[in-house]
């Protein structure tokens, strides 16, 4: 379980997280959605101790991330941020081996090598195993990063916009793969997503944020409601049921658009 209490953070004077309290269920796929500047990525950074919040507490799998030893957390929780521009000359397998660093401190044992090959196979990267990262397409590179995160073999996996840079086909494949990791390996996966329909179709649990607060959370059924989405996105989104999945139709010009967004004093521009 990931439990977050009283989380507050500011960049300069702008409040990005405002007393966020949240519980994320274990063994489930949870998506965080919300407009730009809602505080999604900041929340993910704080939960994964990449960012120290002004106030508040985060407990992941019984560990307080502010006080637990770094390598202990790294064996419990893996995280991948959006922009990964690595200057080092790394092949795919080199990168994935870094996933074993919390265990091996750079000296890999048999068990570590097995996990590395496993992760590479899981993301179907065998063919590219020895390619350098700069010789890969954006989608392949993204899969290589995910393979590193999986090789870290943690119960909790946090991904910030894992569908960035991926085309439709690879986005769908990535979500299917993450879903499998939850169902087969029992992982707890938390994603920041922009596409509400991917969130709706693949998640067990959705957290909707806006202006640094959690506005709603619940099952896709609960969140994919016209009323809820209007509150979160300031858009009138038509909801369609399709084989038990709820999809939001937001891209057709025919869909009625809500009133001009009202900027509250705390709302952000980025």
């Amino acid at each position: 379980m990931i439990s977050v209490q009283g989380l507050t953070h500011r960049y300069d004077r702008t409040v990005v997280l405002d007393e966020v309290g949240l519980t994320i269920p274990v063994g489930r796929l949870t998506s965080i959605i919300g407009p730009n500047g809602a505080g999604k990525s900041t929340l993910l950074s704080v939960v994964s101790r990449l960012l120290r919040p002004e106030r508040g507490q985060v407990v992941v799998g019984g560990l307080d991330v502010a006080t637990a030893a770094d390598d202990v957390i790294a064996r419990t929780l893996a995280v991948l941020r959006q922009d990964n521009r690595i200057a080092a000359r790394l092949s795919v397998v080199d990168l994935v081996r870094f996933g074993r660093f919390p265990y091996s401190k750079g000296r890999l044992r048999q068990e570590d090598h097995d996990k590395v090959e496993e992760a590479i196979a899981y993301l179907e990267l065998e063919e590219y195993r020895d390619r350098y990262l700069d010789q890969l397409s954006g989608g392949q590179r993204q899969r290589a990063y995910i393979a590193m995160v999986l090789a870290q073999d943690t119960d909790y996996v946090l991904l910030d916009e894992p569908l960035n840079n991926l085309d439709m086909k690879h986005s769908a494949a990535m979500m299917t793969m993450l879903r499998r990791a939850v169902d087969d390996l029992g992982k707890t996966i938390v994603l920041v997503l922009h596409d509400i329909n991917f969130a709706s179709s693949f998640s067990d649990h959705i957290v909707a944020m806006r202006d640094g607060r959690v506005l709603h959370q619940g099952t896709p059924q609960d969140i994919m409601e016209r009323q809820v989405l209007r509150e979160v996105f300031d858009m009138d989104i038509h909801i369609q049921d399709l084989h038990g999945m709820r999809l939001g139709i937001f891209w057709t010009p025919g869909a009625p658009v809500g009133p001009a967004p009202v900027m509250s004093p705390t709302s952000l521009t980025t």
């Binding site: 950074s45 994964s48 101790r49 990449l50 770094d70 390598d71 202990v72 957390i73 790294a74 064996r75 893996a78 995280v79 991948l80 941020r81 990964n84 521009r85 690595i86 200057a87 080092a88 000359r89 790394l90 092949s91 397998v93 080199d94 870094f98 996933g99 660093f101 919390p102 401190k105 750079g106 000296r107 890999l108 090598h113 590395v116 090959e117 065998e126 195993r129 020895d130 870290q152």
Partner: protein
């Protein structure tokens, strides 16, 4: 089956080939270094052998120390700074060393300063520099986070600020004090004092030994701060310790030959280009060897073949400056 072979020893044939290439390159570099050192010592000796060996031995010794210090410090600094363009030289580190030295003379007077031996004087300078250096660079990396051009600009500005302060302070000095200071500051390497060489060599070795346990963490730091923290590296600690080692190494090389703005930049980037690896054990070793090769071979050409027609630092700065501009243009376009 390649897949099976990969399972057995964790290395695909391609990886093994890359590994071999790294080893071979390192071996070839080491061999070249030895060749040039020997050539430097033995080339066209006239007159007393004992005198020539003593003088040239000291010269080549200081060149080796400078090459190793510049190579190692620049490479790990690049990693910590997260950029291939930033090296201690570019960031004004060696200018800071001269400023520290001048300030010490300015505050305590040259008599006190000269009463210390060459070695002690160096240690005092290096100690003060390390202190200032860590404070300065921690602040720099935090405040203007990751905007490369801003950092380069700050470095250039700081470099000239330190240089101006140095010349300002030396202008305020009594002419006699200024003379002694100048002797110390521009200790021409053709007459390196033996005790200074010994102290700097020992300090360099100690700094390198201190660097060894950090190397595997630097491999991870190279993935960027967030990834390093995510993988359980104590980022702040590794960066601070590395910067401490870097400042000490910069102090040794500056003390021996004065500031060579772009030496580290050429050396570290050349090493990264020659070695297809991300492992810092190999990269640092390679960078040290390339450093030695650049300084010894460079001085061999400048001193022996061109008959002192110019100085090594002029050549290094000319070549390095051009290289720096090329690197900058390439990076900015991306």
């Amino acid at each position: 089956m390649t897949a099976l072979a990969a399972r057995a020893d964790h290395r695909s044939p391609e990886e093994a080939a890359r590994r071999r290439r790294v080893r071979l390159t390192l071996g070839a570099l080491a061999l070249l270094c030895v060749l040039f050192v020997v050539a430097y010592l033995l080339y066209d000796v006239r007159g007393s052998w004992a005198y020539a060996m003593d003088l040239r031995g000291r010269q080549v010794g200081s060149l080796v120390v400078v090459g190793v210090a510049a190579g190692a410090s620049s490479l790990v600094f690049q990693t910590v700074a997260g950029s291939r363009i930033l090296t201690p030289g570019v960031m004004g580190f060696d200018a800071l060393y001269l400023l520290v030295q001048t300030s010490i003379v300015f505050v305590f007077g040259s008599t006190t300063f000269m009463m210390l031996g060459t070695g002690e004087r160096f240690l005092v300078n290096a100690g003060v520099l390390t202190l200032f250096g860590i404070v300065l660079f921690r602040w720099l990396f935090r405040s203007s986070s990751h905007n490369l051009l801003v950092l380069v600009l700050v470095g250039v500005v700081l470099g000239s600020l330190f240089a101006s302060l140095t010349s300002f302070a030396s202008r305020l000095l009594d002419p006699n004090e200024f003379l002694t200071l100048q002797d110390v500051m521009f200790a021409s390497f053709s007459t390196v004092a033996l005790d200074l060489l010994v102290v700097t060599a020992v300090v360099t070795v100690v700094a390198l030994v201190a660097l060894v346990p950090l190397l595997r963490y630097l491999d991870v730091v190279d993935l960027g701060r967030d990834n390093a923290v995510a993988l359980g590296v104590r980022y702040h600690r590794v960066v601070t310790l590395t910067l401490a080692v870097v400042t000490v190494l910069v102090a040794t090389s500056t003390a021996l030959v004065g500031p060579m703005l772009f030496l580290g930049l050429i050396v570290a980037n050349l090493a990264r280009q020659l070695l297809p690896t991300h492992r810092h054990t190999d990269l640092v070793l390679g960078s040290c060897l390339v450093g030695v090769l650049c300084t010894v071979a460079g001085q061999f050409v400048v001193g022996h073949l061109m008959d002192q027609g110019t100085t090594l630092s002029v050549v290094v700065n000319l070549v390095g400056g051009i290289y720096f501009i090329l690197l900058l243009m390439r990076t900015v376009r991306l």
